[in-house]
Structures are given as C-alpha cells and as structure tokens.
Amino acid sequence: MNDEKELIRRTLQGEKEAFEMLITKYQNSLLTYISRMTSSREMALDFTQDVFIKTYTNLHTYRPQFKFSTWLFKIASNTMIDYWRKKKLDTFSIDQRHKDDDRPQFQLPDDKISIENKYELFQIRERIEDLLDILPPSHRELFVLRHVNEFSYDEIAEIKNIPVGTVKNRVFQIKELIRKKLEKKL
C-alpha cells in the first residue's frame, strides 16, 4: 500500500518507470474486468490502455485517503458506462430501487435439485460464462467486481458511488438470478 503511494508520488514527479510499475501491477485485473464488459479481447485491450491513459492524466486529482485500486476501477467503470451509452445498452443506475428489490433475497430458498452432486465445477463455470454474456451490463459489472475481481462490498460501493446496502442487495439478487437460471439450464 505504501509502496503504491510511493509509486504514485514518483509518477507525479515525472518518473515514467514508476507509472509502468503501477500498470504492471493492475493490468491483468483491469483487463479481466474490461474483458467481461466488452465483446472482444482487442477491444478490451484498447479500453484498458485508455483507462491507464486517463488515470495518468488525472493522477493529480487522486486523493491518497482512498485506495488506488478503487479509484482506478472507478475510472474503468465510467469508461464502460460511456461505452454502453454509445452502444445504447442498459445503463440504469443500480441505486434505482425496483419494486421487487427486496423480494427474492428474503424468501426461503426454493432449491429443487442438488447442483453440487449433479454437475462438475467446470460445467457450472461454463454455464456462468454463458449467463454473464446475456446479463444486462450493470448486473454483470457488479457480479464481476465481486466474484471475479474479488472486491469487497465496501470497495464496490466506493467504485460505483452508491450505498453498501444497495450493493449487497443487488449482488445477492444477481447471484440468485444466476443460480435460478443455472438450475433451469442444467
């Protein structure tokens, strides 16, 4: 963490090697997140480069009390929102409460089959990959941030600039949605 702050300080002083080290540290996690949000690897690489360039040009506005990773992913998330807007994809804000927001997660579970006994892990993983592609981008983003990039709920709340409770509820909903779709498909 302190190393990271030191790298940022050195970058701001014009040391390009310091910024190269920051890129090397985050390039794979950022590329993984962006790849899940776009349709091709080439496009993901272009967006990743774009995000790092934006990060560099705005580095003077970074406030050290926040984690650098959340700040970086906030820039990435905004870049993705711009991309979805251009593609006219679903970009509704996740803090918009839907009327059925509280329903599924408070109900008792309605599992009918045992996924664990019936299917191998890789089969479920393949299904999840297929399902992620058809999820609305805003849902997919939360799921990827939580379960692929392994951000905490607090960090996701900071990235998306919404309350932690909303993030938790929405992530639970998405997971439940995926599980139900898996149960139907498998």
Binding site: K16, L45, P109, K175
Partner: protein, 191 residues
C-alpha cells in the same frame, strides 16, 4: 432456529452473518432443505471465483508508457548519426579511389572542376530565367497600357449610365464564369 432466508445464506457464505455461526452451522447440518440451498450456492460461488482471468500481452505496460511519453531524439543520437554519415562518405570516397586507382589530389581536382561547371551552368540558367521574366513583364505591361488607353477612348463616346451597365454585366459574367468553373471543373461535376 428457523430456516435461513436466501439473504442469510449469502451472508453466511460471505462470513458476514450477524448471529452466532455455530447455531447456523448446527441448523444447516440438521435441515436438509437449508443444507441443499447452502451447498448449491457455495458451488455457484466456487465456480464464479474460478472463472478464467485475462493476462495482458508481454510489453503491454511499455506500450502504454511509449504512448504517454513519445521518444524524442537526443543530442547524443543526432551527433552519432551525423558522424556515422560522414564516416560512411569518407569510406565511399576511399573505396572509389582504391577501385579506380586515382590519387586523392586528382579526385579533388576532378570534383572541384565538376563543381565549377555546375555553378557556371546554374548561373547561366538563373540569368536566362530572369531575362525571360523581364521580357514577359514588359509584354504584359504594354498590353495593360494599350487596354487602358482603348477603354478610356471608348468611355469618352459612351454615357455614364451605359458605362455602369457594362461594368455590371461584366461583373455578373465574371461571377457566372467563376461559378460554372467551380461547379463543373473543380468540384468534379458533370457538364
């Protein structure tokens, strides 16, 4: 303990369950429905966490750095390039001398003679070009003088109103010509 809601199951799997974990675990082990529900969700979470991660290609970070900081030629590199160029030139001259068997003095004499001839030719061409321009200028000046005299003579016979009319027609004609040229020649239209 009552059966867990789906939200409570996720909180339990996230290690964020507000109550006693031992109580929950005791309930799960004794309740078939909750046990199945927890197992299914745990399996989905395990599968999600094992989704493949992307890896950036080699040199990706360097590529971004090169984009942010385009390379500028350093003075040292420029001096090195000029020195290399000069040395190559010297080497070619010596290679030529060695191949033809000429002396260095003879080579420079031939070179200076060639240069002298080139300068003489260039001077001659320059003088002739200037003479040509001077003749062209005189011809154009005489043409304009003649045209001015003739128009003045013509104007003395024509009334002011007719003169204005003629000037207007000329301007309109010129503008029309300009428009047609622009439309059919420059803009690539069809005549």
């Amino acid at each position: 303990m009552n059966c867990l809601t789906t939200k409570e199951i996720y909180l339990y799997l996230d290690d964020k369950f507000p109550g006693h974990r031992d109580d929950v675990e005791a309930h799960i082990s004794s309740c078939a429905q909750c046990s199945l529900a927890v197992a299914n969700r745990r399996q989905v979470l395990r599968a999600s966490k094992s989704l493949p991660k992307e890896t950036a290609p080699a040199g990706f970070a360097r590529q971004i750095i090169n984009f942010l900081f385009p390379a500028r030629a350093r003075l040292k590199d420029v001096v090195l390039a000029l020195s290399a160029g000069f040395l190559s030139f010297v080497f070619i001259i010596f290679a030529y001398l060695a191949f033809t068997g000429k002396s260095l003095a003879g080579f420079f004499l031939t070179l200076s003679q060639t240069l002298l001839e080139a300068v003489q030719t260039a001077s001659l061409v320059t003088v002739k070009t200037f003479k040509l321009f001077a003749v062209g200028f005189r011809v154009v000046r005489q043409l304009f003088t003649l045209a001015f005299h003739e128009i003045s003579r013509l104007a003395s016979f024509i009334s002011t109103e007719v003169q204005i009319l003629l000037v207007t027609i000329s301007i309109l004609g010129f503008l029309t010509l300009f428009y047609l040229l622009r439309k059919f020649v420059w803009a690539g239209g069809k005549a």
